[in-house]
């Protein structure tokens, strides 16, 4: 805001913006502006900022966005990846907290075999290639597959009444890795990753999503939720 008080009625930034936008303004404020070249200069500057904001370039949307939208709009509502993962992580954290309370109150239990991320994915195994039998899926098909898996995951929901700590850890681990991949994909547009690298990240994401689904399916079968 301009400094210095030259008249009894010193116009506020709101007054200056009204004059800039040719809107009605208090007569005394207008008189004060008329008497002060600095205030006119400030109005000119405000107009220049507005022009500059309007001149900012349009941004190109991510190339794979339509694939996800088309996939989601064909069926029922599907939360986008980021929200799904946020929800998943929040749900897992809540479950972990519940389990902690339950385990401390129930005392020792018969240990169940735990599941690890490595066991779910398997050494050197590509869940996508095995499940789909495709040697070199394209980036677009990988994105579509990711969306399909997210849809399935969403259908299962996060509603288990009881979950083993080992399973919870596995789920959290998988979700953390998926979040990491998402972050890498997000920044890949800026960092200029090669198409092959982005495809590899998408492939890994599909594998992790498959693994996450397996864990949830296994848990659902065991506990029947």
């Amino acid at each position: 805001m301009p400094r210095g008080r030259r008249t009894d009625m010193y116009p506020s930034t709101e007054d200056l913006l009204k004059i800039r936008d040719s809107k009605p303004v208090d007569a005394r404020a207008f008189a004060a502006v008329n008497a002060d070249p600095e205030l006119w200069a400030e109005i000119k500057r405000l107009a220049e900022v507005k022009d500059a904001l309007q001149a900012l370039p349009m941004l190109k949307p991510p190339s794979e966005a339509w694939v996800k939208i088309a996939a989601a709009s064909e069926s029922h509502p599907v939360p986008s990846s980021h929200w799904l993962l946020r929800g998943a992580i929040a749900a897992t954290a809540a479950l972990a907290a519940i389990l902690l309370v339950m385990s401390s109150s129930e005392g020792p239990q018969t240990p169940l075999p735990s599941t690890t991320v490595a066991e779910v994915i398997g050494p050197g195994e590509s869940g996508w290639n095995i499940a789909r039998g495709l040697a070199t899926p394209t980036y677009t098909s990988l994105v579509a597959e990711s969306a399909r898996l997210e849809r399935q995951l969403n259908e299962i929901g996060y509603k288990p009444r009881l979950i083993r700590a080992g399973t919870a850890t596995t789920i959290t681990g998988l979700e953390d890795q998926i979040s990491l991949i998402d972050a890498q994909l997000m920044y890949s547009r800026v960092n200029g990753l090669q198409p092959g690298q982005a495809e590899e990240l998408q492939r890994t994401r599909v594998d992790l999503m498959n693994a996450l689904l397996k864990v949830h399916h296994a848990h659902a079968q065991r506990f029947g939720f």
């Binding site: 507005k50 349009m58 941004l59």
Partner: protein
């Protein structure tokens, strides 16, 4: 309403009719025409690329699902833009958005702008991103999208005066950031711009 900033595309009525009938190609074409507007709007208002992508997806899923509710009162592009603005405001109200800081601005400059013009745009982008969320949203909706204070107040469930005062605050802060003036109590506002440039 004025058409400024994120250019609202003109959509052929026949295309909208086809889209209403569930024609997938028409949906795809509508997306092609409107996606840059929606994505740009979301990036400017929310700054986060990930959130902007969420908005893009949510907006078009809603557009496709609710296209039969479009009554043709305003241009189709304006209808889409209103959905996108509402989605952005909903995100800003959510608990998640307040914790999101994954802003990155490297991809904001149009490839055709070079030199000083590009530099000015980057500085302005960064200054805009440094504004408090509410001020940023108001200055964008008013100065760029051409919404009135009354409309902004209604969309944000606030008063017209609230919108006016937020616009004034936004410009006061922008002036400080862009001029490089750095009062001690506002050092955190200015530092990112001054450090880089």
């Amino acid at each position: 309403m004025e058409t400024m900033g994120t250019k609202v595309p003109e959509i052929d009525q026949a295309l909208v009719v086809n889209a209403c009938r569930g024609n997938r190609e028409a949906h795809s074409r509508l997306y092609e025409l409107c996606a840059p507007m929606v994505y740009t709007l979301a990036r400017r208002m929310l700054t986060s690329p990930a959130m902007a992508e969420d908005i893009l997806q949510e907006t078009f899923i809603e557009v496709i699902r609710k296209i039969d509710t479009y009554r043709g009162d305003a241009g189709f592009g304006f209808w889409v833009r209103r959905i996108a603005v509402n989605k952005c405001l909903m995100h800003l109200r959510s608990a998640w958005s307040s914790r999101r800081v994954d802003m990155e601005l490297s991809d904001v400059v149009c490839p055709r702008t070079e030199g000083k013009q590009a530099e000015k745009q980057i500085i302005l982008e960064r200054a805009l991103a440094e504004l408090p969320e509410t001020s940023r949203v108001v200055v964008w909706l008013h100065d760029v999208e051409g919404y009135t204070h009354k409309e902004i107040g209604q969309m944000m469930s606030r008063t017209t005066s609230f919108s006016k005062s937020q616009l004034a605050r936004a410009h006061e802060r922008l002036r400080i950031i862009l001029s490089g003036e750095c009062p001690e109590d506002e050092e955190q506002i200015c530092t990112p711009v001054l450090k880089t440039y």
